[in-house]
Every structure is written in C-alpha cells, then in structure tokens.
C-alpha cells in the first residue's frame, strides 16, 4: 500500500473518496480488470474496423471469411502470431530486446487509469489527470527506442530515431492544445473536465481539437504520419527484428495507443461519457469508436508525408497555431468568463477558419534542399 511518511493506514483511509466500495484494493482489482478487458476488446474491434473500413473505402471487401462479417479475423491473427517462432538476432542486446515491447505496452495501458468511463468510474481520479497522461504516454517512446537499439540493426535504429524525433516534436502542440481545454474547464482532472462540458469542448475549441487530432495522429504514428514504420514501403521500422509474441505486443501497442488517443479526444473534446438516453459507458465507447473511424478515414485518404514535411508541419504550422489558440482562449476565459456560449462558438469557429487559411498561405516547405 502506498503510504507517505506522515500517514498511517487509518489516516490514509480517511482521505480516500467515501464512495470507494470495500477499500482501495477491491477498487484497484475491479478497474484493472475492466481496463484490460476494455483495451483488449476494443483493440480487436479496432483492428476489425480498420481492416473492414479501409477495405470498403478502397472498394474491396476486407477480411470476411472468419465468423460473421469477418469478426473473428483479429482472433485468428492473434493465434497465428502467438504460435510463430520467437526469433532473436544473434548480436542483439538480449535484455533490452526482451524488455522493449513491455516498456512500450505498459504505459499505454496505464493511460486508461485516469480515463473516466462514467461519472467517477475510473481507476484513480488524479487531480493532475491530464498531466499524468502526457507524462506517461511519452514513456512508451523509450520502449520504441529500446527496440531500435536492442535489435542491433541499423534500419531498426534509424526507424526508432525518426520515431523519437517525431514524437518529441508533436508533443509540444499536443500539450499546448490540451491547455486550452484545461483553461476553460479549470481543472486537470479528466473527470472534472467531463463534468465541465455542458457544451462539448469541440465547439468551444475547434482549432484546439483540430491541432490535437493532427498531433495525436502523429504522436501514435498513424498514417499519414507513419513514415517511420510505413508498412507498405519499409518492413516495419523499429520492430523489424521482432517476431512472435513480441511483435504481437508492438502491434497491440499501436492500436492501444490509437485507443488511448481516441479516449482522450473523447474525454477532452467530445463530452466523454455524457449523452442522452444511452448509459454513459456506452456513450463513451460509441464516441471512442467514432473518433477511431475518423482516424481510419484520414488514413485511407491522405498519402504519407516525408520526414521534412512531418517536421515542418509540427514546428511551422501546429506550434504557432497552438500558441495563438492558447492566447485567444486565455483572453476569452479572462475577459468574458460568462459570455454567451453560442457567440463564443461562432467566434471561435471563425477564428479557426481564418487562422488555418492564413497559415496555409504562410506555410512553406524547404523542399528538402539546403543551399550551400
């Protein structure tokens, strides 16, 4: 049990929220199981949705042999990958190679500890919830880098380096666009942010949502920003040398990260579990699936970007817009805290359109050339 030096067990019990049934450990057990089941089930749903949805968008059918509508295809994939031989390169750094998928997967699972499925239904209602998410989601990058380093393969290392560079760059607009939401909600706790959303924040923060969506997609290396593991061009980037269960873990990480970003977008911008008629947790799942569908949609539509375009988009487009968005949100929160919501919504949409048009005009690439 976590105890700080000044507290004994009884005092610690008193600072726990009173509605926790049977104490901390029962709560911990129940929600850990819920989170793991939620992640694994939705990851399988995501894989199915992505393959079927992408197939239909490309005028194909997608997997349709196993089960109704091919619903059992992810299960078959999982079984296939589990019974594969687990190969480790001879000169690999064995311990790092073994630890990398675990280091990548654990933080992704830990993100869901602060995501509310209903009012108060979450593993830990941290008052610094979103800060915790930002901090812990960056740790899985270490796993990626360990995979690149431990494989003892220059292409794995290159892929991992590019991955780290992209993640570090996109972290900044990501966090800056979160701050806008935090300013309006007045709290870092995800549950409090959901409770503050009488109007979904996508309406109050359209630009912030756009920036967060783009930066989030780049952060988890989804297409069109997946140039470091481009599965149609390269082998796999940082997990080239992985096979069997370890590869399955990396595959799981990819989709679990997508699920995490979708959950956070849902919580921050789409009103989380709030919604009429249906039970709250169902609303949450529906919104998460819709966000992921938009990710699949953009993946099918947009071609892959180059590394210089990736970096230019982060530093020349997203970062200035995120700063301006933060400034405007700050002014609005300070100057008109009780303004008419519909007026602010209209104003913010106008500002978002004008800013995106203006910055598209200003946005120029170096065309990859350096004049010497």
């Amino acid at each position: 049990m976590i105890t700080s030096p000044g507290l004994n067990l009884e005092q610690y019990r008193q600072i726990l929220p009173p509605d926790w049934p049977g104490g901390f450990w029962w709560h911990w057990l129940v929600f850990t199981i819920i989170i793991i089941v939620f992640v694994l089930l939705l990851v399988m749903g995501y894989i199915w949705l992505e393959r079927r949805g992408m197939g239909r968008m490309q005028a194909r059918l997608g997997p349709n042999r196993l089960g109704p509508f091919g619903l059992l295809q992810p299960v078959a994939d999982a079984i296939k990958v589990l019974i594969k031989e687990d190969l480790v390169p001879t000169n690999a750094d064995k311990i790092v190679h073994l630890l990398a998928p675990i280091v990548a997967f654990t933080p992704t699972l830990m993100i869901f500890a602060v995501v509310p499925f209903q009012n108060g239904a979450l593993l830990a209602d941290l008052n610094i919830g979103i800060l915790y998410v930002v901090a812990i989601s960056s740790v899985s990058t270490v796993g990626v880098f360990m995979a690149g380093w431990g494989s003892n393969n220059k292409y794995s290392l290159l892929g991992a380096m590019r991955n780290v560079a992209a993640v570090v760059s996109y972290e900044i607009p990501l966090v800056l666009s979160i701050i806008g939401v935090v300013l309006i909600a007045g709290s870092l706790s995800l549950n409090q942010i959901v409770l503050a959303q009488d109007i979904p924040f996508i309406l109050l923060q359209p630009l912030g949502f756009l920036l967060f969506f783009i930066a989030g997609c780049a952060e988890i290396n989804r297409s069109p920003f997946d140039l470091m593991e481009a599965d149609s061009e390269l082998v796999a980037g940082f997990h080239t040398e992985y096979s069997g269960m370890k590869f399955a873990l990396f595959y799981l990480v990819e989709y679990a990260e997508a699920l995490a970003i979708a959950s956070i977008i849902t919580t921050l911008f789409l009103g989380g579990w709030r919604g009429p008629l249906l039970p709250p947790w169902l609303w949450f799942v529906i919104k998460v699936i819709i966000v992921f569908f938009v990710m699949v949609w953009t993946r099918t539509t947009l071609p892959r970007v180059r590394i210089d375009q990736l970096m230019a988009l982060a530093w020349k487009f997203l970062l200035p817009l995120a700063l301006i968005n933060l400034l405007i949100t700050g002014i609005q929160v300070l100057a008109w805290p009780d303004a008419l919501p519909w007026g602010v919504i209209f104003l913010n949409f106008a500002i978002a359109v004008v800013l995106v048009l203006l910055w598209s005009k200003l946005f120029k690439l170096g065309w990859g050339r350096v004049e010497v």
Partner: protein, 164 residues
C-alpha cells in the same frame, strides 16, 4: 485564388473515400462467385480437334517451347497418317498461340476454361482425349474468323458476376 492550398484538397479527398465506402466493392469472391468471361476472349489453353488433324506436326515445329509431341502411324489401306499421340506439356506452354496460327487444317484452337489449375505436375502433361473440345473446354475464335461471326457482340469486360 486556388483553394487546393488551403485544406480544400483534403476535404475533397475525404468525400471521395467516404463515397467509395458506400459503393459496391469490386472484389469477386472466387469460389462462390466468378467473373463472366466474354465469348470473344482469346483464351490461353489449347483445344485440339482430332477430326481435322492430319498429324503433319506443323504445330510441333512452330512451337517455341517445343512442348508439342506428335506421333503418327501410316495407314496404308486408307492412304493416310493416323495420329497416335498428340501430347502437350502445358506446364511449359507459354500460351503464345503460334501453333493455332500455324495449323493449316484448322485443327487447333485457343480455349478459355476458368479453372485450369492441377494438383500434380504430371497432370499438366495433356494427351489426346484431354485436349478435345467439350462443354468445359470451349473453343475461342482466335485466328478463326468463321467462329467469330457466330459469337455475340460483347466487350471483353463484362461487369456481372455469376453466383454459384
């Protein structure tokens, strides 16, 4: 003012993909469905008409792969050669159709069957009866204009699938 630079291009692309999602997929589910083959296809298998064949072995000489083997026996009483064996190793056949073009007696045709895969390599060597035309092995009109006149006028790409 070109709007492609301002994110309109992305919006256009998104509408294209979402429209594709609601159209009919082009995939043909092979064992259950199969494509309608036009009667005017050239086809790429060999159909042999034993009635017209005189055993002259022009086809065997013209075959670039040398996979046609013709064995004949002289029939003195009828004053002609009889074809004892007409054998094609279709595993080596490149479907060039030179034998069909070369045949002076209209005894060779291209044919278009849908399923031509075999389970064993030895089954690829086809002899006499296996090469005769039948309901499954229909002759195409390649190099045979008299057959082409009797065919329906249709394009090569038929859009319909056939369900089994």
């Amino acid at each position: 003012m070109k709007f492609e630079r301002y994110g309109i291009g992305i919006a256009k692309g998104l509408t294209v993909t979402i429209r594709h999602m609601f159209r009919h997929p082009v995939t043909t589910q092979y064992p259950e469905q199969r494509l309608n083959i036009s009667r005017r296809t050239r086809g790429n298998e060999l159909v042999w008409d034993s009635n017209n064949c005189t055993g002259c072995a022009t086809c065997a000489k013209t075959c670039p792969q040398g996979v046609i083997q013709v064995v004949t026996a002289a029939r003195i009483d009828e004053n002609k050669y009889e074809v004892e064996k007409f054998e094609v190793d279709t595993g080596y056949c490149i479907s060039c159709g030179l034998c069909v073009e070369a045949c002076p007696f209209d005894a060779l045709f291209m044919g278009y069957a849908y399923e031509r895969a075999k389970y064993r390599r030895s089954e690829l060597v086809q002899t006499n009866e296996m090469l005769l035309p039948s309901e499954e092995r229909r002759r195409s009109a390649y190099m045979h204009p008299e057959l082409a006149d009797g065919l329906p006028r249709q394009t090569l790409l038929l859009e319909r699938n056939t369900e089994e």
